[in-house]
């Protein structure tokens, strides 16, 4: 009995202390919180973008300077000849980089050519008018993709070799991936493309699925990479789907686009309809892969924004209820994101297979 009493006493005193603390901090932080909100917003925006170095984290030291911890990466720009230098020389946009007789400055995540002081000029719509050289830097996203590529190559090469060693049985991590490969073959490629032609698309479907899935998962790690939530990456992937779809398109596929009504009507009556129909069909060619790139980009982007905003809430609330609550919420969202990571890879692969199926279809029956 006494033990329990002492326990409840202890708990009670804890609650009281926490309450006092939260009250006092709330009073003090009223003015600071606005800055924190802005800072969080900026931080999230910064995180969503690609960066020139593999930044792990950054903080502000006592003298008010930003300290960045991370690995510098090579910056490659084309401005009258290739220029390669370390990203540490960009100094996170806080100073001008001098290369020979030219000066460059990092502004809003892009490299611009400036004068020696680093003036950035804007036009009326607040666009930067400085010259931006062609930028082929090995950024954080590129490094992440390379990492994932090596990982994928390692895993699947091992799986392929394990078959040779064991005579057709997977070993190790391959036991986990083999059913996924078979699932992709039997439930995505075969039903959408058809028994006859599916095998020639398998390599693309498998690569794109695991590439997106692994990058999505890497995005959930504290490394803070956001590769599949980058429009350039999703554009590249969707472009490949678009190119493969149209280059493997059969006669029936193109006939369906330019003569969707077929022989059911006379040409004289079809012509009028086709003035409207054919542009729609042609637009459809582009809209299909476009929806792929936007879907993947928006989903991954949104996931990152939600998680980081909820984590950011901890610093806004700074109270004993709010912080655990936002932690719990962030935890729950992170679990959902784990599912979304798989789901988005699945949807991208599934729809790509569907489009390939349309393209390789031969005898249409409708």
């Amino acid at each position: 009995m006494r033990k329990i009493l002492s326990k409840t006493n202890y708990l009670f005193s804890l609650v009281v202390i926490a309450l006092f603390c939260s009250l006092s901090t709330q009073a003090k932080d009223k003015e600071v919180s606005k800055d924190i909100k802005v800072e969080i917003k900026e931080y999230i925006n910064h995180h969503l973008k690609d960066s020139y170095d593999f930044s792990l984290f950054s903080y502000t030291n006592n003298s008010g300077e930003h300290v960045y911890i991370g690995i510098p990466l090579p910056v490659i720009i084309w401005d009258n000849g290739i220029k390669v230098f370390s990203s540490s020389r960009l100094k996170h946009g806080e100073a001008v980089t001098k290369l020979g007789s030219d000066y460059y400055k990092l502004e809003h995540g892009k490299i611009y050519k400036t004068d020696s002081v680093g003036t950035i000029s804007y036009d009326k719509e607040n666009h930067i008018t400085n010259y931006a050289p062609l930028d082929l830097s090995v950024t954080k996203g590129v490094v992440s993709m390379l990492l994932i590529s090596f990982l994928m190559f390692y895993i699947f090469k091992n799986l392929a070799e394990s078959y040779r060693k064991t005579g057709g049985l997977p070993i190790g991590i391959g036991r986990f991936f083999e059913p996924i490969i078979i699932y992709l073959r039997d439930d995505i490629a075969k039903p959408n493309i058809g028994e006859k032609k599916y095998s020639s698309y398998m390599s693309f479907l498998l690569t794109v699925f695991f590439f997106i899935w692994f990058l999505n998962l890497l995005g959930l790690t504290p490394l803070g990479v956001n590769v599949t939530g980058n429009i350039a990456v999703t554009f590249g992937l969707a472009l490949l789907t678009f190119l493969i779809t149209n280059f493997t398109g059969t006669r029936d596929y193109w006939l369906h686009i330019f003569d969707p009504l077929g022989s059911s009507m006379k040409w004289s009556s079809k012509i009028l309809l086709y003035i409207v129909l054919i542009p729609i069909e042609l637009l459809g060619l582009i809209i299909k892969p476009f929806s792929l790139l936007i879907r993947l980009y928006a989903n991954m982007q949104a996931g990152h924004i939600v998680i980081m905003s909820i984590i950011g809430l901890m610093f806004v609330f700074k109270s004993w209820i709010g912080s655990p609550l936002s932690f719990g919420l962030a935890f729950a969202i992170a679990i959902i994101e784990l599912l979304v990571a798989f789901l988005q890879a699945y949807i991208f692969t599934m729809l790509s297979a569907l489009y390939f199926g349309f393209a390789s279809e031969e005898h249409e029956s409708h």
């Binding site: 590129v142 190559f153 992937l237």
Partner: protein
């Protein structure tokens, strides 16, 4: 949309395409092709094994049914053999019986004939003896007749009385 375009980084797009296409071809050669081949091979081998097992079972069933057939045939043959044996047996018995009866009949008739013959000879003998007796008597009668007439008659009567012809 404008934000999207401004966010679009040509460099990242270039690297992404290069890495992805490179990865695609590397994996195709070193991973996907061998993996899918191995999986397909395994699947066909499983299918083959299953179908051959099914075949073996069918074979077994066929064998069993043929065994059944053989057993059935053997049974029928046995039955037929037994039937025939029984038939032969009864035929044999009946024929033997007939034979015996015939033989017995023959023996009987022979015996009867013998008896008849015996009887005939006996009767002949008897007739002969009766004749001789009659002659003897006649002799004696004749002798007595020679004594007296009365006596002769008396004797004849006497003799007649004594002699029973029957």
């Amino acid at each position: 949309m404008e934000k999207l375009i401004s966010e679009f980084s040509l460099g990242l797009f270039f690297w992404q395409s290069a890495i992805f296409i490179g990865l695609l071809f590397l994996l195709k050669k070193f991973a996907w092709k061998p993996i899918l081949d191995a999986v397909n091979e395994r699947e066909t081998s499983i299918k083959d094994a299953l179908s051959s097992a099914e075949e073996a079972r069918a074979e077994m069933e066929k064998l069993q049914s043929s065994n059944q057939q053989i057993i059935k045939e053997a049974k029928a043959e046995k039955e037929a053999l037994l039937k025939e044996a029984r038939k032969t047996k009864s035929e044999l018995i009946s024929s033997a019986k007939e034979e015996a009866q015939k033989e017995a009949q023959k023996i009987l008739s022979q015996a009867q004939e013998e008896i008849e013959n015996e009887k005939r000879t006996a009767v002949i003998e008897l007739k002969r003896q009766v004749g001789s007796i009659a002659i003897n008597i006649a002799e004696k009668v004749i002798q007595k007749e020679l004594e007296s007439k009365e006596k002769q008659i008396q004797l004849v009567d006497q003799l007649l009385k004594d002699t029973d012809l029957k």
